[in-house]
Structures are given as C-alpha cells and as structure tokens.
Subunit: 600 residues, 2 copies
C-alpha cells in the first residue's frame, strides 16, 4: 500500500523562513500564528491526516461510491468515521472566522491542511473542500439571515456544501444553462433542471447538504448575464433550523470515472426544489466566481498534492528496488544489484519532482498569504496590490500546477516500472486522480485564456509589471550568493522570455485575438516556470542565510541549494522554447479547414 | 462509444508516395506489392479491423479478463470470435514467409495491420502480437525441427506464443533471474520458477500456448551471460504433433492493471515443466532480443495507435460540441454557441496530435522498410547500413513514440473536458492503455540508455552520422520549395542541436558515464523531434510534388503542407531547450545524498 508522510519540515521552512510570516503580525489573526504555534499546527495536522485519512485512499479508489436504489449514496468504507474525526479535530476550520466557529488563523494554514488532505486522499478531501467553497460564496453574497442559518453548521462540518454549475450540454459556457428558477409566493423559488458532474452531490457523511445552484429566472437574459445563484438544501429546515422535510432534489446517477473514485460525482435532478436566491438576481456568476477562485487555487494544490504523494512513493521504491549497476561501477558489490537511485535517469525524474513539489508548495503558500493580504492588509493600496497579484497568479497556480503535477505523477509511476502499472501499488491512482485537476474548475485551456485575455491587462497590466520587477529584484539579490548566481542568471533569462512573450501578445493579440488564444497555453507555462523560479530564488536565499548562520539542519538547507541549481538547469530552458512556439502565432492553426482534421 | 476508422488514405500516401515502395521491386516479395495491391490490402484490412475488432475495445476494458478457479483465463466477450475471424482473414500473416503459411509480402504491411489493430483494440492486438515476437525468435534461433513443429501453427494463429522474462525481483536486470532449467535424460529440461507480467500467458483463444522462457541451467554463470531460452508448450505434443498432455505450467493469478485490461497479464508458475532449449545454452538473451527488437518497434506503434484513436474521437467531439464563441466573433450566430473548433487552444492540441500521428506513421513505415532491407537488400553493404539505421532508430521509435503517444492521448482527452474523464466515453481508456507503452519492453529510460550507450557508438558512429547527413540533405532539397523553406530551416536547426548534443555526449559521456545517463532521455527526445522532422520534410515534398502535378486530392496535400509548417513552428523549438538541459550534465543529480530525497 502506498505511504504518505506530511512534508511538515518543508512547510515550516516556507512559512517561517521563506515567507517570514512573523513580519505580518499586524494582520488580524496573524499575531497568534507564532513560529511555535505554526510548527505545532503543521506537525499535528500532518500526523492526523497521515494516520487517519491516508490509509483510506487506495481502498476508497477500489471500492468507489455506490448509489443505492433509493437514490442515496454510500461513500467508501471508513470515510464516515474519518470525516467525523476530521471535523472533531478542528483541522478544517483553522482560517474560518471565530464568530462562525472557526479559529481565525492565517488562510495559508488552511491551504497547508488542504495540501496534506489531498495528498492523503483527494477524493476524501473533496467533501470538505466543496463545503469550503460554498461557505466562501455565502459569506460574501449571502444575506445575514442566510449566513446565520447555514454557515456555522457548514463550517463545523455538520452540513456540507456543493457547487452546481455544469449541465449536460454546457460546462465552460454557462450562458447556456437551462435550469429554471420560478419565483414563488413565499419569496422562495422553484428550481427545475438537471446538473451533472456534481461532486459530493449526494453522500452519507453529513446530515444535510446545502446545494448552491446556478439557474435562470423566467425573464432573465439568455446569456451569462442572466444567471442567478440559489441555496437549495437537501432537507428543508424546520422551525428550529434543523433538517426536516426532504426537498425535491435527488441524485439520479453517479459517474464511473478515471479517478477520484471515492468522490461521488452525481447527476442531480431538481424537480421544483425549493431554493433561495443568494445575492441579486442575474448576478449569480459573480457569486459563483468567489467560490471558483478559491477552488482554482485549491485545484492547483491538488496537482501539487498528487505529485508529492507519488514522489514519496517513488523515492521509497528507488531505495528498495535493486536493478542493474551504477554506470560508474557497482555501488553495492555485496548485493546482486544496486539501488535504482544509482541510475542518473531515475534521479532526473526524482529531482524534477522535488524541484516542482517544493517550488509549488512555496508558490501556493505565497498565494495563501496574498489572499489574506487582499482582505486584511491595512491600506487599501496594499489590499488592491495583493488582490491583483493573486488574481494574476490564480490561473498559473491552477493551470501550470496541475499540468506539471500530473506530469510529475506520471514520472513517479515510471520510476516503479511495470509495478507502477498494477493498481494495488497505488501509483496508477495518483496519476488517475491527478488527471482530473487539469480538467475541472475550468480546463487548463480556460485558465490560460483567463491569464492572457483577462489577467494580463488588469489595471493596465500593473500586476504583471509588478511580477516582472519582483523577479528581477530577487535575481539581483540572489546573484550575490555564489551558489545561486548561475541559477539566478537563468531565472532572469526566463523572466526575459516572459517579458518578450508578453510584449508579443500585446503587439499581436489585440489585432488578432486568435494569436492570444494560440499562445495562451505556452504563456501560462512560461509564467509557471518563472513563478517557480521566483520561489526557488527565495528558498535558495533563505537556505544560504540559514547555512551562513550555522543552522543545525545543514543537510536540509544544502539540498535546497542543490535543488535550486537543478531548477535553473532543467526547468528554465523551456521558457525560450515556449516563447518561440507562442511567437508562431495562430495563422496555420486557424487556416486548416475542419474537414482536413478528419482521418483520411 | 468511441469510434475508429483506419487512416488508410494516409497510410497509402506514406507507402506509395513518400517511401515509394515501387522502387524496391528488386527485394523478395516486393514485386507483388504494387500500389494497387497495397491500396486494396490497406483499405480492406482497415475495414475489417474497424468493423470486427474496434467494437470490442471499450467492452473489453470494462469486462477485463477473468481467471477461473481451475487456473484457466476467460478473455472478454467477443474476443474469441474476433480472434478466429482475424486468423481466417489472413491479415495477420501478410509478411510471414510463404513456406510457413504466410504471404511473403513486405514487412511494413504487417506494421500497418499492427497499427490499425492496436488503435482498434490494443488488448486484443497483444494476443497475436506476442505470437509474432515468439515466431521471430524461433525462426532465427530454433532448430529446423522446432521450426517445423511450431511455426506453421503459430503463424496461422492456431497456437499462440508468449515471452517470459520478468520475475518478481527483476525486470530490466535479467542477470538476476532465478528460474531454473535442469537437463533431463531425454534431452529436455525441467523448468521451475515464477514469471510475472506475462502477457497472454493464459487465455481461451488458442488450442495451445508456446511459452518462450528465460531460465538458468545449473552451472550457468550468475549474470546475463548465463541465461538460456526454452520452448515450454502449455500442452505437450503427442506423436502426431497435436496438443496432448498438460505441461506443468499454470497461471497463478492475473494482474489488476491501469489499462490494457482485456489483455491477460499473468503470473506464470513453472513447476518442473518440460522445456526444450532454443539455440545454444547461455545465449538466451540474444535470442530473446530478436523478439524484443521487433517488439520495441511494435510498442512504438502502439504509442502511435493510441494517439490516433484518441485523436479521431477528439476531432469528432470538437465538431459536435458547441461551447463559447470564437474570439473573433460568433462563427455560427444562428447556434447558441460555436464548435470547439473555433478555439485556437483546441486546434493547437489537435494540430499537435495530427503532426505527431502522421509523422510517426511515416517513421514506423520507414522502420518497417529498413527491417526488410536489413534482411533482403541485395548487397551486404546495403543490408548492414539498413540494419544499423533501424538499430539506431528502434529506441527512438519506442521511447519517443510512446512518450509523445501518451502525451497526445492525454491532450485528446483534454479536448473532451469533463466528459473525457467519464469511462463510458472511452477517452480515459486511450490514456490508460497508452501508459503501458512507456513502461514495457524496456522502460523509456532504458531505451534512452540503449540509444546513447549502445546505438550511438555502433560501428564508430556510422549510423548517427548517416542520419545527420540524411536530414541535412533533405533540408537542402526542401528549402527549394517555397512552402517548406521556413520549416526546413527549423528542422536543420534542430538537427544542429542534435549534432551539438551528440558532440557533448562524446566529449563528456566517456569520461563520466553519468553524464550520458543524465542526458539520455533528453537526447532521445531531440532525436525523436529530428526524426519526425525528417519525415515531415519528405511528406512535405511529396505533397508539393503532388500539388504541382495537379493531383486530384488537393485538400489532402495542402493539409500536409500546413501540418509540416506547424511541425516546424511548434515541435522544433524544444530541441534547443533539450540540448541545454542535456548539457547541464550529471553533477547536481549525482551529488544529492539519497537521504535528501526523503520528505522532511
């Protein structure tokens, strides 16, 4: 069975030494997050998740979810007990507001738990993950009464939440949804329609499920400007606010999927179900995007999570499995063969994974800090700056993080050779589970267009300019460090490619938007490389500083410097190739007649 | 259900117009292969496979194979009938010698059938595919008596063959095998041991199974120099040569795998089974490599096959599915949304697939021609030259072809969005089936080392020098063609990167073999890009010539020129990035202590 150990030491390094969370003591809730407190939370949350949640990953995949004849859904064995234990532990409420039953701590601590939980068991993590998204929407857009009615029980985990967007004929293009919401005399709406791909749409973990549903009111415009958001509880609440009568919503089927099989992906039928408007009519998409932006960072983290879990198991296999001899002569002559670790190509795959997971962890933690800064920083200017930066980075975290996360999981499976293809060994599951992260919450092509079409131009391109400057400044600082000078030069060059690609898009994407579309995916990847480069510059400097100050954990810091060097050598060269592909533009792509794609 | 149509027009283009098979009329069997004959074979084989074999792909995956209590294995519903029909049709014996019941036609026609069969149903194709490999070994290394006894019935498909190498503790490193072969008084050997991952080790399609088994005789050296190859039939033959008494070999279990679930992957237990030596004692590995080299080209074709099948279904989806609007304004204003085809990023993925599948098809067909030339060319020099070239290309066809084949299948699944993640739609199966091709018959890291460690230096590097010259000559010719000039310049540059990478390996790989190991995978990919580039140069020129001569099928040839351009623009830039990664060498990779890989 695959193993999982929370990378707590690495998380602590990022939070305390790289981001220096102590510096932000002025933010609400941050004063409590002392390094000691963070260390304890990270270690203990990691221990709990590894012990309670991880052992259910493989069995959950093998068993899957079952829809029973009455439309109820049974989650895999052990999920219910683990869910209850998770709710009781409080690890899911770290950053929720204290007045709603949370602990008011920094948001990035919630992301730490999200990472660990998804590494341990992505399917399991989705049940609470979806609730968090629904909570975010209701907190911002719900009425005070809705907030009081639903949030405390959703935050405690007694009730769960879902997100109902997709319909059989539309996913990305939500303007086409057909689900109807007809106003009733009592102020509620009657919701009718079919939603598909609804994660956790039905389950046996919570006593109620609060569905957030996109639907159209009778006179709504026939576009994304005519979508409203509704709360549709599975059980209507009685006078005391407890689940009472069953609402007219039911699970019609669950999907057979490539992965995340422990997560119930439901077809949800709304048959005149009672729903209540959240926020204003026709403003549903904006409300849903609050949920979606948080969810996109979460999905980027899932890419990291699967890569990390797969990496850990590949490292163990490379130690245990002996096959062949080192190219430079037997490393262990007393054994029949050497460890896989002697083979440079195996090390290449493992180093590639290490450079990604550690870089991506830092990037997502920084993202978590930016989310808090966007809400809690003292000045309006600081809040706006943080908001723009995280808006810019969100599609990169989601798109690049999951593309590279999937690739990493595949490479880690490769380390296992034929044994990686056998389901019982768990490597296949990491790949299959990682695969969905590139697809859901906006397929990565949609992320790329969000980045290029919307985020680059935000506020006159202020965020991307700030990003360029930040990278250049960090390169200049890191170049002073002899062990980082070469790597900093390479990241600087990659940043130059990003600038050139940006300029090309400005010059060629306006006149012909297809040029932007044709290069968007490449651009997202260049920016992913530079973003991880920025993190490695910061981590490298933190490591060098620790070594200079005679820190105890020398091997840990030295490995950071080596991995930073590897990143420079093996990640940054792609930036130039991607820029050249982008500059090819859209001409030949768009010129090909559709019929010419058909197989002749 | 996914669809499949054999790409017969494209195959005919490659064979008749690009390779110009007519020019080889002097080779045995080639005079019969007139363009008309080839067209008929390709069209009819394609039709048969699409109609009879393809419909069993999804159902075979869903049902899988079953091991029964008595150790017998039941293949998925429909496989037996389709197998019988396939054997009767004769499509499996095109290139087998006439004296053994085959049709004596060019080898590349057998590869056409292999491609179509694997696209239609990779699991199904494995049953006859393994037999072909076993036949190849017995033809070269078996005694005349063994050949007469086994080959006609294996070629007709009445009996099947398998390949037993892997044991629980060793796959790549066959020197460690423990299966024993003890000589018996009657000249046979008693074979005892456990083999794993034996494809088609047990099944219900044929009346006998001829296992080829690697084992060690009692006094054999404890290394790859002490391995012998044995024929171990499932049923011993009676006096008339018909299957009689059951041999002491049985299937102990079948594996639950990520993909190719219609293929029975067996644990085979040999319990003093009667076996007969093939060739000389201790020379088993060489005999097995005959099988393996053919198999490696076959696996490269499987990468192409899955990419092609996935591509076809992605093209259909991109036509049928409407979502969003063209960036330049609604393409179909009368519809609620435009086809996915309007989105440049969708086209990018589809063009990427088209450039790969068509280029790879040409490369494998050329490989098939080289195999024939290595056996049948008139002069010794021509045979040696062809043999060296196909030896050089085999790891590229296998390694690059399957890496890129898998990547393509993943991208085609991406075109389907969330619907691609649902098993019933079949896109997941293409990805899961393609995944094994990167692993078996020598994992792709092993292919890369075979290329860099063995093939580059063959005969003083004659083959790679010939390859460089061939590409340069083709670039020079193509540059004259206005529509190919830019693309030819790009391929020439990629060839320059390959030369530079080769030079770097020569200078740095000898002194420190870890430098070769650390760059081998990158090198294999550069060579894959240049190999496809060579094919696109040839295809582009053939298309330009056809257009110049006023050929009827104008759209077909124009799309070739456009795809050649796409290849130049979007494939070749990676060559430079890969070369730079390769030149980073092995220092940081090998310096990292193993403990530093452990998650902290």
């Amino acid at each position: 069975m695959p193993v999982y150990k929370a990378p707590a030491r690495d998380t602590r390094f990022v939070i305390n030494e790289v981001l220096g969370l102590e510096k932000y003591g002025n933010l609400p809730g941050y004063a409590d997050a002392t390094p000691d407190m963070i260390d304890t939370i990270v270690e203990e949350a990691g221990k709990f998740i590894a012990e309670v949640v991880a052992p259910l990953n493989l069995s959950g995949d093998q068993e899957g979810c079952t829809r029973n004849a009455d439309g109820s859904v049974t989650t895999p064995k052990g999920f219910k007990d683990a869910y209850d234990a998770f709710c009781e532990s409080g690890w899911g409420t770290l950053s929720q507001p204290q007045e709603l039953g949370g602990q008011g701590l920094p948001h990035l601590l919630a992301l730490v738990v999200e990472e660990y939980l998804c590494s341990a068991n992505q399917s399991f993590a989705m049940y609470s993950g979806l609730t968090n998204g629904a909570v975010a929407s209701i907190r911002v857009k719900g009425s005070p009464e809705q907030q009081a009615t639903y949030l405390p029980k959703m935050i405690s985990g007694e009730w769960s939440g879902t997100m109902n967007l997709t319909e059989p004929h539309c996913g990305t293009d939500l303007g086409m949804i057909r689900t109807r919401a007809v106003p009733q005399a009592d102020g509620a709406y009657a919701i009718t329609g079919t939603k598909i791909f609804i994660s956790a749409g039905e389950q046996d973990l919570t006593s109620n499920i609060i569905h957030l549903v996109l639907a159209k009111t009778p006179d709504a415009p026939d576009s994304t400007k005519g979508i409203s958001l509704f709360i549709v509880p599975k059980f209507l609440l009685d006078a005391e606010g407890n689940p009472g009568e069953r609402n007219a919503v039911s699970c019609g089927a669950i999907e057979h999927k490539m992965g995340i099989r422990g997560s119930a992906t439901c077809v949800m039928n709304y048959d005149g179900a009672k729903g209540w408007l959240v926020g204003e009519e026709n403003k549903g998409l904006a409300a849903m995007f609050i949920m979606m932006n948080a969810a996109r960072i979460g999905v980027g983290i899932q890419g990291l999570s699967q890569a990390e879990a797969a990496y850990q198991n590949a490292v163990l296999y490379a130690q245990d499995r002996r096959q062949g001899r080192a190219l430079t002569g037997a490393a262990d002559p007393q054994e029949k063969a050497d460890q896989l670790f002697v083979h440079p190509d195996v090390r290449r795959m493992l180093m590639d994974a290490k450079a990604f997971t550690e870089g991506m962890r830092a990037l997502t933690m920084w993202g978590g800090l930016l989310v808090d800064l966007s809400h809690k920083a003292e000045s309006e200017a600081e809040r706006a700056e943080a908001d723009e930066m995280i808006s810019l980075l969100t599609p990169v975290i989601k798109g690049y993080g999951t593309d590279k996360g999937f690739e990493t999981a595949v490479n880690m499976q490769q380390v296992w050779g034929g044994h990686g293809y056998i389901e019982e060994n768990g490597m296949s599951q990491f790949v299959r589970d990682a695969r969905i992260t590139q697809i859901y919450e906006g397929a990565n092509g949609v992320q790329a267009m969000d980045l290029v079409g919307r985020k680059l131009g935000l506020n006159g391109g202020k965020a991307i300019q700030a990003f360029f400057a930040m990278v250049d400044a960090e390169c200049a600082k890191a170049k002073v460090e002899p062990q980082l000078a070469d790597m900093a030069g390479r990241v600087e060059k990659a940043n130059g490619e990003l600038k050139a690609a940006t300029m090309w898009l400005v010059q060629n994407g306006m006149t012909n938007p297809n040029n932007a579309g044709a290069g968007a995916h490449h651009y997202m990847h260049i920016m992913g490389i530079v973003s991880l480069g920025l993190m490695w510059l910061k981590m490298g400097q933190a490591a060098a500083a620790a070594l200079a100050s005679g820190a105890a954990d020398k091997a840990f810091y030295e490995s950071k410097l080596m991995t930073a060097r590897y990143f420079g050598e093996r990640y940054t060269p792609d930036a130039g190739a991607l820029r050249r592909k982008l500059e090819a533009g859209s001409e030949v792509l768009m010129a090909m007649p559709i019929e010419a794609f058909a197989t002749a």
